[in-house]
Amino acid sequence: MATTKPRLSSFSRNLSAVSSSQTPGVKCGPNGTMFVSSGIADLDRSLVMVMEDAEAPHHMLLLRNFMSQGLVHGQPLLYASPSKDPRGFLGTLPSPASLKHDKSRDRESEQEKGLRIAWQYKKYMGENQPNFDSHRDNKQDYCNEFDLRKPLERHYFTRQRVNCVGIQDSKNLAALQEHCASFLAQHQRNDGSCALAGRIAIQSLCAPQCEHSNMDWEMLSFIKSLKGMVRSSNAVVVITFPPSLLSLSSTKRWQHMADTLLSVAAIPDEDKELAKLLSGYQDMVGLLNVHKVARLNTQVPFILEATTFSIKLQKRRFLVLECLNQAPVDGSSGSSYGTSGSCSGSSKAGTLDF
């Protein structure tokens, strides 16, 4: 995710390159931007929850990136959905972005060395990685950019790698829990070893078409069990849910359960006030808020510089998150900006480090 460094003057641009990283997880990007990994030092063994917005399906963008990234890197995936045909969703997963799309990529790849990738799955890439896919001639470089207009090649969807589970017709969550348990058992952590990581993506867990959607305690119990299982595995779980369908109290319980808690929100079209407030407004499709960041084995809270990011589709193909600066500005800093989008150069805005 890109964050804009505070400026002292509206005339400053292209801040001089700062040495990449006094701060772990931060690297210098083009146009004075500082790229911050999601800040999550290690998302393995954690539960990420995304609160959906009923007015816009932006959580699906995040889910698609998450799933594609896992498949492209040979990581097994368990996908659960309330739709009638969960496997059909795989056809909408994006393909890795072409290397040609960004000429500065070569320069950036050098800078990437300092970047601590959020999912930390880069460490799993290597000679020991089992080759599930005989179609691949070359080892896949770590990829976190995806082209939403280009579907992922079908050879990634082999049944050995992707398990799709429909949750609409199940009377309760026992079957899903069983699926998750067997999936995670295959990726149990072994001290000293680095077993292949797995990903679980559960879409719209409390969707009204599911029979379990009015079983508050059953859903909570499922999430608690899943969280307990994932702590002893080498996997990461992403669950999306529409909080508007839960009571306030239940929503708070779900929020407390999450290790990392995000929410997405729609941006109204043609809102003149917002257009004045946010530069690049016309390119924004929504907002992403980071409410809580996983802190396993530590008591120190992670305080992000910015917790709200704009969701943009660069060239209508590439999902990009950009930090929104918070208003009001601190007069003592000399900054003359109010809230702004990434004035520092959205044309080469940061990629989604997810």
């Binding site: 059953e218 608690k224 407390h256 808690l261 084995n297 008591q299 305080i303």
Partner: protein, 258 residues
């Protein structure tokens, strides 16, 4: 305890007096927090204080939220080795992460009855000189409700039984719960009863200005019936800010930091 090691929270809890008898003996402490500000660091500090070399306390830690390794790593950075304390039978860890009632023939009520019996049996099984120095910690109560499949009445019964142990054995009972879960309820019986029973209420909240890198939140400590050295007692409310670090927590009054 050495006075130079004491912080504002220690003083608010009355830990600035003699360590014998343990100032929290027979007392119920409730830690409340919310999504924005976790109160777990208070629990960790109380674990460290309870297991200080100058005290004789034994902790029965009932963990619904995190595995042993999580607390071990955190307390190590705070200067307390839970593995050693566990081996020395001063830190008894009940891993309840996967407890689910009803399950395996246990009803919601049955599961919590068994848990209480296990706690009682553990206390009774301690050597005579340790029985009077037990601290029961529960992390956290909202997950006890989930484990009990929403049976809040059973959870309340369980807490009442644990509360009875504070007078029977002079135990301390320290629990953590998420206040924001109950604030929207019309009748938040569980949290109200817990607050009523508590001798000390510690609340972690964000500042009105939100979170910042140098101030992580504010603590409000209500100590009902504090006992001073001179024997006086009274309710005291303390409020201060805090910043959580790996190896310590800094507490300070608003505006006192340079």
């Amino acid at each position: 305890m050495e006075n130079q090691n004491l912080n504002l929270l220690d003083r608010a809890l009355g830990l600035d007096g003699p360590s014998e008898p343990w100032p929290l003996s027979g007392r119920v402490v409730l830690i409340e927090d919310c999504v924005e500000t976790s109160g777990s660091f208070v629990l960790h500090q109380l674990v460290k204080r309870s297991l200080s070399p100058t005290s004789s306390n034994v902790i029965i830690f009932v963990a619904f939220a995190n595995p042993f390794s999580h607390y071990d790593r955190i307390l190590r950075k705070l200067g307390c080795n839970l593995v050693t304390q566990r081996d020395n039978k001063r830190f008894i860890f009940f891993d309840m992460l996967m407890l689910r009632c009803p399950d395996e023939g246990k009803s919601s009520e049955g599961g919590l009855v068994l848990l209480y019996e296990k706690i009682l049996k553990t206390i009774c099984g301690l050597p005579g000189d340790k029985k009077d120095y037990v601290t029961i910690m529960i992390d956290d109560i909202s997950l006890v409700e989930v484990a009990a499949n929403g049976g809040s009445d059973y959870v309340l019964d369980f807490l009442h039984y644990c509360h009875a142990l504070t007078s029977e054995f002079d135990c301390s009972l320290i629990t953590l719960n998420h206040e924001d879960i109950y604030s929207s309820m019309e009748r938040p019986t569980l949290i109200l009863q817990m607050e009523y029973l508590a001798d000390i209420l510690i609340k972690a909240e964000p500042l009105s200005t939100g979170l910042a890198t140098d101030v992580h939140g504010q603590l409000t400590v209500l100590n009902k019936g504090t006992s001073h050295r001179l024997g006086r007692s009274g309710n005291k409310i303390h409020n201060f800010h805090y910043k959580v670090k790996e190896n310590t927590v800094e507490y300070f009054y608003p505006g006192s930091r340079v």
